[in-house]
Amino acid sequence: MAVRDTRVQPARHDALGLGPSDLLDMYYYLALARAIDERMWVLQRAGLVPFVISGQGHEGAQVAVMWAIDRGRDWLVPYYRSLAACLVKGMTPRDLMLGLFAREGDPSSGGRQMPAHWAHAGHRIFTTSSPVATQYLHAVGIAYAARVRGTGEIAVTSIGEGSTSQGDWHEAMNLAGIHRLPVVFMVENNRFAISVPTRLQMATDGVAVRAPGYGFPGVSVDGSDVLEVYGAAREAVRRARTGEGPTLIECRVERLTAHSSEDRQEKYRQTSDIEAARSKDPLVVFKHYLEQIGLLDEARYTEIHGRIKDAVTDATDYAESRPAPDPATVTRHVFFEG
């Protein structure tokens, strides 16, 4: 059946230059991110960790954008839902679980930050804070440095649609537009800033329309469609790499969970809306595509998910077995220590 579909409809991925191994790897990261995310909720509900904030529903867009960059050389300036992006960029399930448990060896912050404030110097994932939108200016600075130093690197940063109301977001768009900097601005629009809907966040229909006001293009794509996002990202990366300047990619995604473990979304969200969101789950959509083109049969599915289950179990057990950070380290790294 899948083979027949391929014949009937020329594969979209071929046009985007993605081969079967790309697609299967992308699926792996999507499913891995989801499995880790779900395990985090289980651990939180079991009382093993105090807090979780989720990226479920956003994974497809993140994997797609990260697939378009040079993962070794380019920069990621993430935000708190960028779990899948960080995995693609090089962080391991163990790295993420160490952060969740706040254990010794957590590469993001050494147990100092709340979970989901990912960072990794080796993988060029810049450290982030909780005040939103500050990271956009950092990405602009990173891109400026890449330009001045002539390294050819680009910077990708992401943010929720609510945070685009912050001044720093506009300042970053403005500065990047002025200097046509090599930066890709990603907005993951899941329609809720915790509880506040987009109609109370902006008068425009989405944020992509704002980009021309800063002198560069903005595109709005279906964030549940991995290939559509990838197509937009590929073009944005090309523009950045060739000196044409920044691009804003607004990914319309669904938030499949509450904002965080502290949130009860039923208070502000219709049950029907929550149910409908499931139909736009990028994991389901992408799996269906792979099945359609005959790339993902049951044996391969079982193999991939077996690897994922092992990786998640290993990461959980490993992080849980690690000691808490040594209290003596609380005063470390305020200033450079040589």
Binding site: F126, P131, H138, A145, H333, V334
Partner: protein, 329 residues
């Protein structure tokens, strides 16, 4: 060795560092063709080009936020805030971001940026409420941020070079009045004044005056004013407000037994409060009098009219009066 003005020493420090290390760049409002509203980057645009002498949009958060990103990716930015009064839109970028990057990344990222901010008021400054403020107490409170405020031309050059080379964020405060008031010998060679140590500018035995920036100037004048009255004041230039040179402060108090802190910022919860607390905690048994503060009034900022500005500012006369009272105590 050349005698030069404070502002020329600032300019020279940046010039030499940009010549020495091509990673160093300046960014801020009007730093380019105009050379800065005070002239601190005069001539830089022609010498180093637009990419390294960057006129930014009129947005302070951009200046600091972009500088943080530049530093993350291998540059050494000197961010100029045109007046310290305008630094507050960048507060979040300085406090939540720059100052915490090393700590929150467990030492895996750094933030080697220098933020220069002209500060201070007085009758000669004519700055009014928004071109006169002192901001050191606000920022010296923040762990992870170094705060420096030189008084001499020599220190201006040496400390600015140290700040630029420092692997951590440094807020470099320059009192606007000092720019063209203070002159001094500045060596041509490549020297740095380390961030941290204070220096005794005038040894004395009767009491210790702690000050920095413009107020050091006033404190030194006050000390000379009371000399004929048999009062021999020691004047200590703190220079670095964070990290603070605890040992020099305590050694001075243990010698003189009396302490006064002079600062232009608002008195309440000002920098002097920390110095006073330090002395009370660490040198209590050396005290032969109350620890005094001479500081700016607790009104929102320095008013514009000369009469009001004069009433606000601590001056050598006001300091000398307080010195006499403390000496007689």
């Amino acid at each position: 060795m050349a005698e030069m003005r404070y502002i020329d020493a600032i300019r020279l420090a940046m010039y030499e560092e940009m010549r020495r290390d091509e990673r160093v760049l300046v960014l801020g409002e009007d730093v380019g063709l105009k050379g800065g509203v005070f002239g601190c980057t005069d001539g830089f645009y022609a010498e180093f080009g637009e990419a390294r002498v960057l006129d930014t949009p009129l947005a302070e958060s951009s200046i600091v936020g972009a500088a943080i990103g530049m530093a993350a990716n291998g540059l050494i930015p000197i961010a100029e805030i045109q007046f310290s009064d305008f630094i507050h839109p960048a507060y979040n970028q300085i406090v939540s971001e720059a100052a915490r990057i090393r700590y929150r990344s467990n030492g895996t990222f750094g933030c080697p940026i220098t933020i220069r901010a002209p500060y201070g008021g007085g009758v000669e400054v004519h700055g009014g409420l928004y071109h006169s403020q002192s901001i050191e107490a606000t920022f010296a409170h923040i762990p992870g941020l170094k705060v420096v405020t030189p008084y001499t031309a020599y220190d201006a050059k040496g400390l600015l070079k140290a700040a630029i080379r420092d692997p951590d964020p440094v807020l470099f405060l320059e009192h606007k009045r000092l720019y063209r008031l203070v002159r001094g010998d500045v060596p041509d060679d490549d020297y740095v004044v380390p961030i941290g140590p204070a220096v005794v500018r005038r040894p004395g035995s009767t009491l210790s005056l702690f000050a920095y920036g413009m107020m050091l100037h006033e404190a030194l004048r006050a000390a000379e004013e009371v000399v004929t009255e048999g009062i021999d004041a020691e004047v200590v230039d703190l220079r670095t407000l964070r990290p603070l040179d605890v040992q020099t402060i305590l050694a001075s108090v243990r010698k003189t037994s009396k302490a006064m802190i002079v600062y232009e910022d608002n008195r309440f919860l000002g920098y002097g409060a920390e110095v006073a607390a330090l002395i009370a905690e660490e040198a209590f048994d050396a005290l032969d009098g109350p620890i005094l503060r001479v500081a700016g009034l607790d009104v929102p900022a320095v008013p514009y009219a000369d009469s009001l500005a004069a009433a606000f500012m601590p001056t050598s006369t006001k300091i000398a009066d307080a010195v006499r009272r403390l000496a007689a105590y």
